[in-house]
Structure formats: structure tokens, C-alpha cells
């Protein structure tokens, strides 16, 4: 599947040529300070009008589509929770066949599948793996707010270690989430698809350029976007972007991309802040003790070292 990514003439998005046209309308019902809808809108700004969206069940589906109003200015379909990659693969295959048979006159559209972390890393993992493996030309966007927020903050496999959720509550016998966050971008990359990246709306130019690359490249692309959730994380709504930036500045959520198997850290943090700076912005971590934080700091350092090794290994 690995082929020439076709990025030779890639024209970067800068603050000068930032796409401004919005394809999600105001009047959506996302919570105050929701960085997930912000990230989603950034993706669609880059994708532009010739785009079809398949949306998994979850916050973004619920807040944008209660009948009779839709926030979507793009053709959009919601089918179910675990199958959005499958739906997108059907859309892609359908239009491909119609185009070949001269029944589709326009340019091939971008096909974008959108799901939360539960829809991606848990219930929809099989459908995603299938769609990536089959090589459909589509972009899968995981908007990771690190728990099942739509149903009331239950833990997912993407919930970070130590976070208290409604099904991984911190208590005298538990630290909260007892498992380390699933390496979803790593799993996507293991399919040897041409493009995998992590992104964060606090670094909007980095995010938008990754969307553009993902859509430029022919074949499946996977974008894992950190999506701050003040409601679920018990953080302040006004701090959503600050928290997002801290996640990168502390290396809790490193930004990187993998083009044809080659990993590059796209936002290098010269003087990382301690993870405690990040944790103290969110009450889901409020119960963590000094030893816990030490352990987490160590794991975060190891995680970054591993990425750095991968970056140099491939060079």
C-alpha cells in the first residue's frame, strides 16, 4: 500500500492563507468551551465543500444533528456507533464505482469518517482496521476526549492512566483508570497506511496542515486529534485551549506524523513542562498523589524517548 505520497508540491497552510469558510454552523449544542467541535470545524475548513462526512454516534453527532436542525453544511451521514469507517468505505467505494461507470460527473469528493475515542479505539476498532487495510481513499479522524463523554464520562481504552471517570472512579482501592492509554495512532500506523498523525486544536496550523496532507495523499489516512472536554475533565471551559497546549508542552500528547512509515515529531518541545502542570488543570486528576505523578512523569518521558527513537531509526 505504501506509495508515493504525492506531497512534493505541498503548499503549506500559514496564518496568511488560513481557510476561513466554516462548514459547521453556529447554533450547535456542544458544551461551553468544547475543543472537540472546534477541532472538527478546523478539519472541515481545510477539507472544503467537496467533502462527504460519516459521523459515528457520539458527542459530535448528537450536538450537530437533533432534528429538525443540522449544523452541517456538508453532506453528512450518521449510521451507528461502531461502523463509521465501514460506512465511509462504502461511500468511497460507491462513488468510485459510479465515477468509473460515468454516473458521477463531479470531481471525487473527500470522504471523512469522524468518531470519538470510544468509537475508534474500542467499539469501532475492527471496522477501522478493515477500512484501513482495504486501502480506501479516505480520512479517518478520531476526536479523542479520552472517555465516553456523551453517555456521561465512562472510561474508554483511550482514557489516560490515573484519570477518574464514572466507571473508573478513584477510590481507596483504585487510582482511577488503571491502564495506560491505548496507542491508537500506533495501531493505525501498523496497517502501513501512507499517513498517520496526531494533532491538537491548540496548534491549529499544525492540525490544518496535517488535514491537508492527509487529504492530498492517496489512500487511507488516520488523524488522532486531542480534544479537550471541560465537562468530562472537570476543567474550566475558558482553559480548553490552554489545557490543549499544555498537553503538548508537557509531552503528554506529542504531535507527530508518520508519512509512509517515517515518523517525524512535528512539534518539538525544547523545555518540557512537568506533567503536574497539565494535571492540575483538570479535576479528573485531582486525587493523584506525588508518587503517582512521579510514575506518570517517568512513563511520559519513556513514551517520548520511544518516539524520538522511532524518529531517528527511520532516518
Amino acid at each position: 500500500m505504501l506509495n508515493n505520497p504525492g506531497l512534493e508540491n505541498f503548499e503549506k497552510i500559514t496564518s496568511k492563507n488560513l481557510p476561513r469558510e466554516n462548514y459547521i454552523s453556529p447554533g450547535h449544542r456542544a458544551c461551553q468551551g468544547c475543543a472537540e467541535i472546534l477541532a472538527l470545524a478546523m478539519v472541515m475548513k481545510v477539507a472544503g465543500p467537496n467533502t462527504i462526512v460519516a459521523n459515528a454516534t457520539g458527542c459530535m453527532e448528537i450536538v450537530t444533528s437533533p432534528f429538525p436542525q443540522t449544523a452541517w453544511k456538508l453532506p453528512w451521514i450518521h449510521v451507528a456507533f461502531e461502523n463509521t469507517a465501514a460506512v465511509a468505505s462504502g461511500i468511497e467505494a460507491g462513488i468510485k464505482a459510479l465515477k468509473r461507470k460515468n454516473k458521477y460527473q463531479d470531481d471525487l469528493p473527500n470522504v471523512i469518517a469522524v468518531g470519538g475515542d470510544g468509537a475508534t479505539a474500542d467499539i469501532g476498532l475492527q471496522a477501522l482496521s478493515g477500512a484501513l487495510e482495504r486501502g480506501h481513499n479516505f480520512l479517518y479522524v478520531c476526536l479523542d476526549n479520552e472517555a465516553y463523554m456523551n453517555t456521561g464520562i465512562q472510561r474508554s481504552s483511550s482514557t489516560p492512566y490515573g484519570a477518574s471517570t464514572t466507571t473508573s472512579p478513584a477510590g481507596s482501592q483504585s487510582i482511577g483508570q488503571q491502564t495506560w492509554k491505548k496507542d491508537m495512532p500506533g495501531i493505525a500506523a501498523a496497517h502501513n497506511i501512507p499517513y498517520v498523525a496526531t494533532a491538537n486544536p491548540g496548534f491549529h496550523l499544525d492540525l490544518m496542515n496535517k488535514v491537508k496532507k492527509a487529504l492530498t495523499i492517496n489512500g487511507p489516512a488516520y488523524l488522532h486529534i486531542y480534544s479537550a472536554c471541560p465537562t468530562g475533565w472537570r476543567s474550566k471551559p475558558e482553559k480548553s485551549i490552554e489545557v490543549s497546549k499544555l498537553a503538548v508542552q508537557t509531552n503528554v500528547f506529542p504531535l507527530y506524523e508518520i508519512i509512509n512509515g517515517k515518523l517525524t515529531i512535528t512539534k518539538k518541545i525544547n523545555k518540557p513542562k512537568p506533567v503536574v502542570d497539565y494535571f492540575k488543570t483538570q479535576r479528573r486528576f485531582a486525587h493523584l498523589k506525588e508518587d503517582d505523578l512521579k510514575f506518570i512523569q517517568q512513563k511520559i518521558d519513556e513514551q517520548l524517548a520511544r518516539l524520538q527513537r522511532l524518529e531517528t531509526d527511520k532516518e
Binding site: 437533533p66 453532506p75 467505494a93
Partner: protein
């Protein structure tokens, strides 16, 4: 078109799907459906059929990808059986709820446990309420014909619902039967290109599958149900047109044997042929017995069914599925509920036969008939041939 060709029924179904010029096939292999989709993948590989063959990783994805493809405006086909159909369950309702005219062959097979690859109707009976048009074919010719007609029914703008054509696993799918094929030109004239009413079109953005708030959910379901109810007429119309064009006549409900028969076997699917042999032999020996075949199961053709059984004193309803904990098998439940409002009701016997591929022979049907005459069948239902120590 005048000379019948002997071939496996699965291959005849694949030929029908090819002749329907589908754009997308999304399928996952499961016995006894495999020969259909294998053959289609060969057609695609050879360039005999210009379509995308999406070799999905599960039946859940087969149906989900079919929803995506149909919503994008592509003529879409899939096929499955038993566990595969059960895995699709969630998405089957969504396909009809979104009004997408997907066509699916169900090679009927028993549900686990214990695992059985052999035929019964347990798989589709568990999916009675999915809101699809559900048709049962009796033989290879019907399987071929109805597979083409299914697209015309599904895509009719008065219907726009998914259609499933049931063919008995192994008993039909793997049987070599004589089938009359139709010239491509005639099929093209009969089945116009798919003209979707609503698609995912960037030039005309629509939101498909929004949140159905309490103020709209009931109306939304009503819209789909009404389309299904209305489809009865369109199925009849398409069958009619089929008869006129290709000289093979199909009815929603088919009555065979003497008009005035006092006892009627009620059957669905391939069992009807064996029943008919028994009916013939019984009639020859002076018994007053006939057969009624249900070809259209959903929507249930109430009027046609009541007409077909008018005057009968006794019905022997053969169910090929168990409805555990209920009074009857699914077909008998349906018929009994229908008879409640009728002033004159025939006696109803219910025999659940052929579970998990158990053979049901001519002799068995004759024995059922004899027992029904002597009132020896269980008043609720009899599981035919089940061994017991009691």
C-alpha cells in the same frame, strides 16, 4: 432465453446480480452464502461486471458499507446467512430507516448454538421487524428471477426500502437446477438504472440520520412502515410485469392443488416443492388437500392470504423456525393473529419442521396430514421428529 441451463442456484443468483449491473458488492463469506459472492468476485476480477467488490471484515461492516454505498447513490448488493445476518441486526433497521434500497440474499441457515451450517428459517425470523421487504424463493428459477425483480421493487420511488430474497441454504444454494436466463437487453429494459431520491451529494448537502427527538421519532417510524405497507402493491405490480415480460408468473401468495381443498399446507421457501408432491399423492388417493405458499412475507399480504385459504377447514402451517416461549412458530403466529378478526376460522395445526437441516420428506408431510385428520398433533405446535424419552 428459451433453453434452461443446469447450474448451481448460487451461481444463478450471482448471474442475476451481475445482470442487475450493481455498482457495489460488500460481502463477508459465510456458509452457505459463499458461492454467490465468490462468483461475483470472479465477475469483477474478469471485468464481466464493472463494480467495486468490497471484501469487508465482517457482516456488520458488509451492511454498514452497503448503507454508505447506497446513500452515495450506488446500486448495492450483499448476501449473508444465519450468524452473519444476526451480526448485521443493528444496521438492518438503519438501512430501512434511512430508506436505502439495498438488495440482499439471505441463504437461510440455522442459528447457533449449537453451530449448524444447515438450513432453517431461524435467521430471518429473528429479523422479522427490520422493516425490509422480505421475499422467499422456492426454487432456482425463482431465486434468479426474484433477485433481479428485487432491485426494481427496492428502487421504486414508492418503496425505497431494502429487499431481502430468502433462499434456503444448501437445499437451494448448493442445488443444481435448470434455470432459464434472460437476455441482458431485456433485463436492461425491465430494470432501469438506479435513480436515487436523496444522496450524499456535495452540491446539495443533506443530513442523513439525524437525532430523532421524541417529537419526530414516531412519525419517522410511521413513514418507513407506510412505505413497507405500500410496497405490497408494488411487489405485485413488479411480479405482474415480470409475468407479462418474461412469461413466468409469480403471486404474493400462491395456492396449489384443488380449489375446494379442505386441508391446506402453508409453507415458505423450498419446502413447498416437497409439500406439493405430498399434496399431489394425497389428492390422487382422494384426500381433499392443497397448499398455500407465502412468497411475500413482509409486508404480509393479508388480503391475498385470506383469499387463498377461504373455504378451508384446516390449516397445517409448517414453520421452519422455533419461537421459543411463544404459542406457535412465527408463521403460525402471523396467521393466527390474522384469523382473529375473521368470522369463520379454520382449525390451525402448527408443525415446526426441518430445524437445522433435518430432512422433511414427502412421507413426513403425508404423516402430518394423517395426524391432523385424527387430531393427533399438539394443539399448539409439534416439533416434527424430535426424539424424546418421554
Amino acid at each position: 432465453m428459451t433453453k434452461a441451463k443446469g447450474l448451481e442456484v448460487s451461481l444463478a443468483v450471482a448471474e442475476a446480480v451481475k445482470q442487475a449491473n450493481v455498482d457495489v458488492i460488500a460481502a463477508y463469506p459465510i456458509t452457505p452464502q459463499t458461492h454467490i459472492v465468490e462468483e461475483l468476485s470472479v465477475y469483477v476480477a474478469n471485468g464481466e461486471l464493472d463494480a467495486e467488490y468490497v471484501p469487508v471484515e465482517s457482516e456488520h461492516t458488509a451492511m454498514s458499507a452497503s448503507v454508505g454505498s447506497s446513500a452515495a447513490g450506488a446500486r448495492t448488493y450483499t448476501a449473508t446467512s444465519a450468524q452473519g445476518l444476526a451480526l448485521m441486526h443493528e444496521i438492518l433497521f438503519i438501512a430501512s430507516g434511512l430508506r436505502l434500497p439495498i438488495v440482499m440474499t439471505v441463504a437461510n441457515r440455522a442459528l447457533s448454538a449449537p453451530i449448524s451450517i444447515w438450513n432453517d428459517h431461524g435467521d430471518i425470523m429473528a429479523e422479522r421487524d427490520i422493516g425490509w421487504v422480505q421475499i422467499f424463493a422456492e426454487n432456482g428459477q425463482e431465486a434468479y428471477d426474484l433477485s433481479i425483480a428485487a432491485f426494481k421493487i427496492a428502487e421504486d420511488h414508492r418503496v425505497l426500502l431494502p429487499v431481502c430474497v430468502n433462499i434456503d441454504g444448501f437445499i437451494l444454494t448448493h442445488m443444481i437446477e435448470p434455470v432459464l436466463f434472460i437476455d441482458q437487453k431485456k433485463i436492461d429494459a425491465f430494470l432501469p438504472p438506479f435513480n436515487p431520491a436523496l444522496t450524499l451529494d456535495p452540491k446539495k448537502p443533506v443530513t442523513m440520520g439525524p437525532v430523532g427527538v421524541p417529537e419526530v421519532y414516531a412519525e419517522s417510524r410511521k413513514q418507513c412502515e407506510q412505505a413497507l405497507i405500500n410496497s405490497r402493491e408494488i411487489v405485485a405490480e413488479v411480479f405482474d410485469q415480470w409475468g407479462k415480460t418474461f412469461d413466468r408468473n409469480y403471486k404474493l401468495i400462491e395456492k396449489n392443488g384443488p380449489d375446494e381443498a379442505k386441508s391446506l399446507f402453508i409453507t415458505m421457501g423450498s419446502m413447498g416443492e416437497t409439500t406439493m408432491t405430498a399434496v399431489q399423492e394425497l389428492t390422487d388417493s382422494g384426500e381433499s388437500v392443497g397448499q398455500v405458499r407465502i412468497r411475500l412475507w413482509r409486508p404480509f399480504p393479508k388480503k391475498e392470504f385470506l383469499n387463498a385459504i377461504a373455504g378451508a377447514e384446516e390449516l397445517i402451517i409448517i414453520d421452519r423456525a422455533l419461537s421459543p416461549g411463544s404459542h406457535n412458530g412465527p408463521v403460525a403466529q402471523e396467521v393466527k393473529a390474522l384469523l382473529y378478526d375473521e368470522p369463520v376460522k379454520p382449525r390451525v395445526h402448527n408443525v415446526i419442521a426441518g430445524l437445522g437441516g433435518r430432512d422433511v420428506t414427502v412421507k413426513d408431510f403425508k404423516k402430518m396430514y394423517a395426524m391432523s385428520r385424527k387430531n393427533e398433533l399438539d394443539p399448539n405446535y409439534t416439533i416434527w421428529g424430535v426424539r424424546s424419552d418421554a
